[in-house]
Structure formats: structure tokens, C-alpha cells
Symmetry: D4
């Protein structure tokens, strides 16, 4: 596994990451780490590698776009001095284009998304041991669906940024597509965004594959 003993791993993202994590910092007793895939990652790291004592911190915020990440990047990423950083952002950047079409100012266009993510990652990369960039996703198999198609463009942007900055690229969309080969999206998430435990575990597993986690 790429993660080494006593390293600090910080996740930042939107509601899929957040999942009711503690404020101001998603780390500590009780449910501080939230109830989503971050918790599952933390559990699997401990169950399989208890000796490593990887420190996991959840800094997701519901509703965030990459614009919101930029505004809180220094306080919520840099100041925590993580060894590893995992970023999953973009769902709201796209979703607002489709669920609030009349309020254009709420969404983030692709160019701004790519540039902002690139800037954030660029000025952070050197202080990190490892960086993981995860795609946003839409739990929908039809690649011609307008929102899926758009989300794929944002995912491609993540892949580009990951390539430019030597980051590990995690394709969460592919992870969901694998689940969807065997069941309809309705079995994972009625809104195709906020997954139940089946979907959260799929994200956790995709992340762990990315960092070469060993189950045994």
C-alpha cells in the first residue's frame, strides 16, 4: 500500500464526502469523520492495517463547488499539513446547470472548473507526499444523457489535471458504471448522486484500489 505508517490523509469535497462530519474539523471521537465513504476508508485501513495508524481527516462540505474549495483551501487543506490529499469535486458544478437552469450563476463552467482545480492542485502538490484526484460522477449508464455527458467532461478534466501534477487518478464514475452493469441506478441512489451504503462502499473501494490497498 502506498500510504505509510502515521501519515495524515485528508479528504476534501462536497456532500458525498461531508456526510455530517464534525465542524470545524472532521476528525475525532464519535461520528466526527462523517458517515460516508471516508468512514469506510478509515475502517478498512484500520481493519486490514491496524499497525499503520493512518490518520484520516474529512473536510468535505455539502453543496460545495470548486469555487467554494478555492475559498477555503488555505484554512481547510494547507493549514492541516496533510501527507496525502484526496479531492473529489465537481458534482455541484455540473448539477446546478441542470437542476437550476434558470439560475446560471449557481453553476461552474468547465473552463473555470479546470483552471481552478489546476491552480489549487498546482500550488499544493509540492507539500504533499501523495495526491489523489477523484472524478465527479453521475450514477447513470446512458452516456448520451446531457448531465452524464457533461459530468464526463468534468471527469476528463480531472484526469488531465491529475496527469499534469503526477497525481493518482481515481475514476469513481467507472466504479459506479461497474455496479450499474448489474442493477439500475435506482438501487444505488434515487437522485443518482447521493449513494446509499452500496455506492459509498464502491467509492471507498475505488479510492483504496488507487492507493494499492491490500485487503489482507
Amino acid at each position: 500500500m502506498l500510504l505509510k505508517s502515521r501519515q495524515k490523509l485528508l479528504f476534501i469535497g462536497d456532500s458525498v464526502t461531508d456526510c455530517e462530519r464534525a465542524r470545524p474539523v472532521g476528525e475525532g471521537l464519535f461520528d466526527a469523520i462523517g458517515k460516508g465513504y471516508v468512514r469506510m476508508v478509515d475502517g478498512l485501513l484500520m481493519a486490514a492495517h491496524p499497525e499503520a495508524q493512518i490518520r484520516v481527516v474529512n473536510m468535505g462540505c455539502s453543496g460545495n463547488t470548486v469555487r467554494d474549495l478555492a475559498a477555503r483551501w488555505d484554512a481547510d487543506v494547507i493549514a492541516h499539513k496533510p501527507d496525502w490529499l484526496a479531492v473529489m469535486i465537481g458534482i455541484n458544478d455540473v448539477w446546478r446547470q441542470f437542476d437550476l437552469p434558470r439560475q446560471g450563476e449557481k453553476a461552474v463552467p468547465l473552463d473555470e472548473y479546470r483552471a481552478t482545480l489546476d491552480e489549487l492542485v498546482g500550488r499544493t502538490r509540492t507539500i504533499l507526499t501523495g495526491l489523489v484526484l477523484m472524478t465527479p460522477y453521475f450514477i447513470e449508464t446512458n452516456r448520451d444523457d446531457a448531465m452524464r455527458a457533461r459530468m464526463d467532461e468534468y471527469g476528463a478534466a480531472v484526469k488531465d489535471v491529475a496527469h499534469r501534477h503526477r497525481a493518482i487518478f481515481v475514476d469513481t464514475q467507472a466504479a459506479f458504471d461497474r455496479l450499474l452493469a448489474h442493477q439500475h441506478s435506482a438501487a444505488i441512489a434515487w437522485d443518482r448522486i447521493h449513494p446509499n451504503h452500496l455506492g459509498h462502499m464502491a467509492i471507498a473501494r475505488a479510492f483504496l484500489e488507487g492507493v494499492q490497498f491490500a485487503w489482507k
Copy 2:
């Protein structure tokens, strides 16, 4: 308009009809009629035809399939002696096939759906002045989507039953398709089933078109 002065119009269906209507009967002061399309139908009938004083009753129940309708038909339809009856059922019959694929007993297969609806309508038609059968729907444009395709089969069954029993046929799926020509499903319903006010008004309008409502 086909509805005549002082007639009683009863709606029966699932959560899309229910919308927090009063128990045991969805009629009366305050929000007894629920907060969905039935309320909008009632409001439009009154605003445009206050002299008619059409009596509107909401007997929807969240989560219902046609099996549940059969179990409460005598108490919730026959006993109320409506002049007009509107039925919209089938969403849960289909949805459970896709969101609970491992619990096959929760869904209602097409044959059972068609037969049950036909039986219920058949033994009620003669006591009614008018009957409106509304299709179930899935707020999704991709007709190859497995759930949309299945829902269309159930909608076709409604059309058959309507034809056999001289009922007015209301194609709510077509009404949603019309909205979807101009925006993504996410703008109407994140889960593609429970619409916001835009979708409820589209259902109300489709129903009113069916009964030849005049806006002025």
C-alpha cells in the same frame, strides 16, 4: 368542461397523489386535500369555475401499488360514491423492480398490474359518471432506460384498460416528456418520480386537459 356542477371527483393513487392529505379522508379545511397536483386541480377548478362547486376528494396513499388499491377499494372509492374517479397508479409497481431488485416480492408484475386494474375499473365503471385513467410515469427522456421502458409498458396497459372501459385516458408521461424537451429531469425531480411544483402543475394540467377544462 365535462365535470358538471356539484359533482364529486375522487382521486386515488400513490405518493404523487397523497402529498400529506388528511386521514382518513382527504377533504376539508386547511391542507386536507394534500399539497400536490390534486390541490392544484381543485384550485384551478375553483378559480375558473367558482359557480360549479366541484367537490374534490384525495384518497392517495404513499407507497401504494395496485395491490394496495385493491385492498382498500371498497372503503376508499366505492363507499364515497364519487361521480368522477381518477386513478393514477403503477409507479411503485415498477420502481420496486429497480430500487429493490433483491426483494422481488415487493414489486407487481405487469400481468398482475393490468389484471388488477382492469378488475377494479370493471366493477366500478357503471356507478360512475366519468372515469379518468392516468398513466404512471418516469421523468426520464431516454426511452431505452430499463425503468422508463418498463414504465411505458405499464402506461400502455393503462391505455388498454381505459379503452376497454370507455375511460378518459391521460398520458402524464407525455406531459412530462413535453417539459423535458426544455430542461433536464433534475429540474423537475431529483429522483425522477416525486416532482416539485413544476411537475405537479404539469400533471394537473394534463388531467384538466383530459376533462376539457376551460381556463376562462
Copy 3:
């Protein structure tokens, strides 16, 4: 219809407009637009004209008089740069004269009402494509009732101001009078001010008539 594609339509008013709209801005996901006539207008615009994508914003505030509108006009009207503006104010200006007769300072006299409304409308008219002025109302048929008579004076002031500023005049009082020809006020609003869905739909319909809305 007078409203054109992609235009922004902003409603401002009191509790009849507000109806639990979101703060600070009554626009967006879920019930942000409130639960009253504004929601119904939004629904009917979309159901009949989905291609137009009219943007509707609700800036009503419960309890407001025209004095309160003046205090928040820049922030809640001007700053939003609406194409169309609809104003319905005056109910509380009058009501406080009758339900709090011992607290004279709570109500707004007719002269102040007319002058304030005129001033607000006057300095806003030129930046608008369209302006709709709606009368306050009292759901009471007896024109000799002191409060109805007073409300009619305020309604007449609205008509004057509308005339002076080339605004569309919507007579909500007349819309209610039409309903009251067929039933007692108790069937619309126990307090003769806050209507149930029947009354809200009557307001919505009166507004839409004013902007030459086409049902089909």
C-alpha cells in the same frame, strides 16, 4: 404572453407573497419559491410555456407594509435586476388600523401609502421591461365594511399609481369578489386575508390574466 423567454420576474409583497419562501432570496431548489400564489404562477408558466424558462423570484416578507418595502427596496428589488416586477402591498398598512386600533403607529395612512408606492415605482420603472401593480384586498363582499371600504381606497391608489407609471394593473380584489359570488368568505380564508389554495390560485390567475398568459 407579454413575458418573454429567459426574462426574470420578481414578486415583492407581504405574507400573501412570502408563504415561507427561502431567505435571503426566494429562488432555487426545494420550496425556495414559497408555497403561495408565486409558486402557482411559476408552475403554470412552466406547464404551459416550458420553452420560455421564465425566471421567477419571490421576495415577499410577512408583515410588511409599504414602509418596510421602502427600507429594503434597493437590496431586494433593484439589486436583483429583474425584467419584470410585480408588487402587491397594502394589506398590513390597512389591517393594523383595525386589529391594533390602540397602536396607531403600526399602520400606514393612505397618503403615506400612495406617496411611498409612487416614489418606489417611479424610480424603478425605467429599468424594468414590465411592471405589474396588484391591489391589496379584503375577502369580504360587504363594501360598507369599514376595513373593506378602506382597502378599496388603497386599491384605488394602486390603480392611480399604475396609471401614472404605465404599469399593468391587476385587481385582486375583483378576483376575490368573483369567487365570493358563489360562496362565503369563510370558504376561502377564515381571517379574510390569508387564503387557502383556492384563493392563492385566484390571485395567480388574476396575475396571469394581467400578463396575457395563454393556458394552451
Copy 4:
């Protein structure tokens, strides 16, 4: 004062009497007696005549018509063996004719109202020391208002029944009319039925005048 030391005085009626009284019996510690005119009567009897220790019981039930009183008369009146009985009923019998015009079965017609009240009073009169019949009311000065006119007919029926059974007749409508000579109904009750403390005190005072209460 007609009420004598240690007598039990029972009030029965609708929501105006009820006012959150305790169940099953509106008598005892804390707010058992409710928060309306019955509480004020109890307070005034004690403040002016503490030596009398009149026992006051509140058996009002929100929403009741005279039909509902008949159904619970034995349990809620007879079984308590009051010395004095005060009845104020009829508001809902009339109101439902106007606020639910489409649900005719909810209201009680005048003939049924008069006959039921007469029957109840008739079979109870002999076991009572004193009987007080209070009119229903509508807090509206316009006697041509359809609901006020109807309420006056029910009030006249109360007067007839009082006369036939040697009961003290209390004209609560007249008490409200006296208040309305100096202010609009909106200052007493927005819905013209459920009064604020000003209206409840007016009812209490009317009742006490009826039983020849002495303030000092």
C-alpha cells in the same frame, strides 16, 4: 348572585369553551380548566366571592356541534351531576355551512339544531338548580352577512329553547355587538369566531351578568 355556596357549575360547548382544557375532565390543578372564558369566570367568582367556593368544570370540545353534544351528553353532563349547567353551542353547526359548502353533511341544519338542543335540555332541566343557555355568535356587525344572519337564527332558537325550559338566556352575540360598536372585528378575532382575551372576557362578563354576579 344566583350561584350559591359549594354549587357545581358545568360548562359544555365547542372550541370557544374548550381552550385546551384537561381530558377527560376539565377541572383540577394547573390549566385543567382551559384558557378561555371559563377560566375567567372561575377567576372572577373566586376574586369577588372567595367564600362561595363555586366548583367550575369545563367540558367543552373543539369542533363540536350539537350533534356531538348529544353523543356525549350522558357521560359529560349527566354523570357529573352539576347544580348549574351552561351551554354554548351552534357555531360549528353554522360555520360548516359556509366554510365547507361542498361538504353538506358536516353542518347541522336549523331544525335539527333546535330539536336536539331542546331534547337535551328537556331531559336535563329537572335535575338542575340552574340552567344557562348562551347563544352562538359571529363577531360581525353586518346583520346582512349570510353567516351572521344564519347565526342569528340559531341564536333565536336558543332563546326559544331557553324560554320553554325556564333557563337564563345569555346573548353573547349582543355582548360582542357592544364591543364592535367601538372597534372592528379584527381587533377581537381575525376569524370572527375565536376571540382573544378581550372577547373571552366579554363572554365571561355576559355569563356573569346572566347569573347576577356582583363585582364587589
Copy 5:
């Protein structure tokens, strides 16, 4: 009655006056005036003298001593420009001496109480048409009880201050003693301070006697 038409009557005091009145000002719609004796005074003034339209304001605050009154006197009395002022304070000044004997700083000694009350009244008297000073009380018949004896001293101080400033003196303790001649304190207030409706009406009546209120 000494109170004249359209005069403003302001009550200030502690929890017995407060009774959940509205903030910042205890006047207006719904229960703004609180649920205690002030409400009853307001109701009786209206029921007997509706033509007078006396304006009643409740500025009581739970837990207050005369020290607290001094701190808010300008804002809560002077700024309201009352015609009549009624003050009932002192219960907490005394009670804290007995229920928190170990926390001497919480109570107000007699000298400070008298001096503060005198100062407040002295600088306010001239701007008032009428002034009513009401004693604090302890609902206990045993004058040798330490707290009753102390409360009587504070009551005597009120009498002195009233005499010095030509104020109407209302002896609420005497009013309670009159009730207690016929029943134990437990029937009025378990804690001998916060009365039920029987005790609040006794205070209201004592106040009204003081201003020569006429019941008819």
C-alpha cells in the same frame, strides 16, 4: 374610573407581571400582553369600557428585582411615554434572601429597595397622569413566617413611597389575604408566589379597585 379615554397604561414588574409577554414590547397581536393579571386587566377594561380604548402595555421581566428595573427604566418606562404607570416589584428582592441564603449578593436589602424605588418614582412622577404602586406579596397567612414578615416590610416601603409621591397604593398582599381566609395557599400557588388564574384575577381586581374601575 380614573383612567380616561385613549390613555396609555404601562405595567412594569417581575415574572408575575411578565407571564410570557412579547419582546421587546409587551403589546400587540396574539399573546403579546402576556398571560397573567395584565391580560385580565386589559380584558376587563375592554369588556366594561369598550369606548375608552385604554392602551395597555406589559413590560414585566421574569426574575427582576428593583435593581434590574433601575437598569432598564429609561428604555422600558420613560421612552414609552405612558400616561399611567403601574409598578409591582420586590418579590425577588426578598425571595433570594430565603431561597438562596448562601448567595447574599443575589437579594436586595430593604434600604436599597426603598431608596431605588423612591428614586425611580421620583424622577418619573411629573411626566405621569397617574401612578399606581402595588406591593409585593407572599401568599401565606402566617405573618410570623420570616419571608412573609420581610415581604410586609417591603410592602410598607411601597406604601411610604406611594404616599410621598401621591401615587395610588394597591395592597396586593391584602387581596391575597382575603382569598386565603377561605382556602389554603396551596389552592392559589404551590410556591406561594406564582399564582394560578384565581390569584392573577385577584391582583387584577385589586388594581382595578385602585383606579376606581366600574364593572358596569
Copy 6:
């Protein structure tokens, strides 16, 4: 100490005993034993005599009189097979005579009280190792107070019954009188019945003195 290792000690009584104990049986994890003197007794027994493992059960019920105890004696005392039984009852039997003087049926007269207690104790004594009878009390020093005087009569009845059945007699009234020598009743209980922790500890201590508890 009279209590021996592994014995079961059951308390029965009213709200002073109850203090939110668990239902149906006041014994077990968390706050099952309630929050009053029974909990303190349990704590002191364990702190000083951990080896004894005395089993303590709380069967108090708020509002109970001796009449209520009789109705549940078999289920709530006999069926639990206690070794020791402690009874404290009578407060409500007396209090209702004073706080609800108009509802005579709510209180229990002295003769009935004495006879019922005697009967209950009589048929239970032989199955018990030890029996403790505790007086009811009124936290009031004035023995001429009507309620204190009456309570003393009930306490004397307890003493008689204790003597007749060789029970340990615990004078809780004397325990409170000892506290009251140094402070007013207001410092122990505003209502003179439900004590704060100071009063509950005084009851616990009186009980423990009765069973010859050793602090060290």
C-alpha cells in the same frame, strides 16, 4: 447496619419516591432507580458497604395516595418478594384537601388513610425481614399551618401503624424540621413538597439512620 448482604430493599411511595424511575420496574442500568432519595440511599449503601450488594428497587408513582398503593400493592410490592420494604405515602392524601378544596373526592380522609395503610402493612409484614414506615411531611415550620397540622396527624397515624406492626419508624418531618432550623423552606422546596437535592439527601439520611447505617 440492619440490612444484610444480598437482601432486596423495595421503596414504594409517591412522586418524592418516583423521581422519573424506570417503568415497569425501577431497577437496572442508567437512571432506572430514579433521581431522588432512593438513588442517594443506593449510592450511600454501595459507597460505605460495597461488599453487601444490597439490591434496591424503586416502585414510587407520582401523584399516588394510599388508595393508589392499595390498587397496585400485589403487583408492585408482593410480586417482587422484597426482604425489606420502605413505605412513604400520604402527601397527596393531604395536599388535595388544600390545593383542590372544591374537589373533595380527590383527597383521602385520615380514617381511610390509616385503615388502608394498616391493612396493607398487616398482610405484608410476615413475608418481610424488615419494614420501614416513613411519615409524609410538609416543609413548613409553622405547626399551626392547616396543612402542616393535618400532615402531622397523618404522620401520627404512620407512627401508630408502625408501632402495631413492629416496623421501623422514620420521621421525615423531623428531618426537615432540623433543616428548617437553619433556613427557610424556600431554600429546600418552593412548593414545600418536592425537595431539591438538599431535601432528598435529608430523607435518605433519615432512612439510613432508621436502619442503623454506618458511614464508615
Copy 7:
């Protein structure tokens, strides 16, 4: 993996299994499956083997001992016709011996525990494809701790029963011991019984190892 496509896997146990699962059956939409290790098992099965569509049902009940399982075995196990059954019981059987030492009847002795479990398993084994017996555990490294030592005896009984009935034996105690080699029990569960997500994942992993789950 031993679990085959479309098989039904039912878990039964106590609060560690329950974790707020739905009633009456822990299967379905939303959080029906509970929030503990069963949810994690379900998620991992789906993430790694989506084609298998294993059906997972949670029938845990907080506070249960093996006595409680016996009482509901027919309804909660047999009636569901599972292919695979997993049982984890015994924690409360032991815990009550230590946290309620004075209430001996609340715990289940070892002999009764072993016999009951053996009987339940014995009469169910033949209708099952697979059976998994999981030990109870105490998250404590000190094997001389009285409760750990006792729990180990119950765990040994589970091993015996598993051996007698050809069941897969899962040693959850060993799984926790592995975690405890790297951190104190306080990092897993303050009460050493109800684990946080780290502990639940350890249980899930132990179970999955037992059924030869493949991570990839």
C-alpha cells in the same frame, strides 16, 4: 466466495447487529439494514461482487440474549427462509452478570447459553445452505479480566456448537485482539462492547474472511 448468486443471507444477534435496522424486517430502502457491520458486509459484497446480488437481511435486536433469540427464532429466522444464517449472540448474556450483579435473573448462565444455542442451530441447520456462528467478544486485552474470561468461555461454547453442526466459525474476539495489538480499547469502544466504525469494519472483515470473500 462461498456465497452464491441470489442467495439470501440473514444476520441475527443483539445491538451490535441491530444498529437501528428497520422494523419488523431489516431490509429495504434507506437505512433499513442498520448502520453497523451488516451494512458494511452488504456494501463490500456489492462493491466486489455486484453480479451476485446477495440478499442481506438484518434481524438483530438490541439487548437480546440467546433467550430472546429462542423466543423469536421461528418468526425472525425460520419464516424468512434464508440460504445462509449468521448468528452473533452472547454479549448481553455475559454483560448482565457484570453490570447488573444484583439482578441475577437478567443474565444467561453458560450452560443455558450453550444448550439454547445448540438447540436453535440444531433444528435449523438442515434448511440452510450455509451457517456462520460468530463469537461474542469483549474489547479488552487482559484475558484475566473477569468479564473477558467469561466471554471467552461463551466464545468457546460457540466454537463447540459450530463444530457439532458443521458451521463456519468466526472468531470476532480474535479480530478485535488483532486491532488491540496496536491501540487501546478506548480507541475502538469506550464501553468495550459497542464499537465505532473501526470495530464494525473489523467484524465485517472477520465475517467475510469466514465466507472466503474475495476483495477483487
Copy 8:
């Protein structure tokens, strides 16, 4: 007893002291003093020595370490001018080392603990009549348990500091060990830190022994 009449005794510490005490100061009516051992100390001092009227103040704060005490020492200890001060701190200083091993910054190392406590006590001792230092504790009999062993080191530091500053030393760990000789820790506190009433009374008794309290 060492505590003398009218002296003020202030307790400071963590959640074991706090127990929901009032803010900002844990002294006064109702449950201001909290629900733990401080309340029991207050009750026992009053029950046995009502003439002394010792003033007890609770300034505990949940979650505090000695670092937190230092930050609020002036405001929460010095400013209150206590005659006696009792300090029990250290549990969280140690616990965080074990329940949050990955967040090293949350715990307080032994050297810092000892130095901080010494500094606080040193600059306060001269203004106090009496000082009581109580050890932190872990309700666990196994002295080889890592957390118990560490806690014992912190307890030894308390003993040192007490010796250096002529403070009364109270060994709460010894008090718990005495309880644990007769039952498992599970009967006192599931988490071995927050005791039930049995444990709180043991702390209260240990403190009172320290100040030579006399039960009679």
C-alpha cells in the same frame, strides 16, 4: 470537620465535576450545581451540618484538561474568591492518549500536566484557607492496563503537588478500587470514566473523608 461555617467551597474539574451545571456559574436554584458528586457533597454537608451553610460552587467543564483549566483559572477560580478549592483534573489529559492515538496534539503529556498543575496551585495556595487535590482515576482493576498505569502516574503527580503545597490529598482511584473489590467496573461505569450514582457517591465520600466530614 475542617470546613467552617459560611465558607465558600469551589470545585473545578472536567465532565465528572461538570454534570450539566449551570453557566456561567454552577451555583443557585434548581440544578445549577450539576448532577454529580458535587451535588452529593452539597447534600451531605447540608443534611449533616445544616447550621454551617457551607457555600458550594461547581466550575467543572466537560472535556477539560489541565491546559483548559489554566486558560480559565483567573476567571473561574481566582475571581470567585473561594475559601476552599477542590481540583480534580487529568482524566482527559490521559484518555486522549488512548482513544485518539492518531491525534497526539489532543492529549497532555505528564510533564506538562505536572508543571501546569503545580503552577496553578502554587499561585493560588496563599489566598485559600484549604486546598483539596483529587486524583484522576480509571475504573479498572488491572494495574497493567496501559491507561490505568498511565493514570496512576498522573495520580502520583497529583500526590507530589499536594505534598509540595500542603494540600489535602484525596485518592479517588483508591476509592474506586475499593468498590471494584466487590464488583466489575461494568457495574459502575461502562466506559470506566463517567460513573453512575454509585461511583459519584464514592467520589463524594472520598472527598468528605478528606475534609474530615462527620456523618452525625
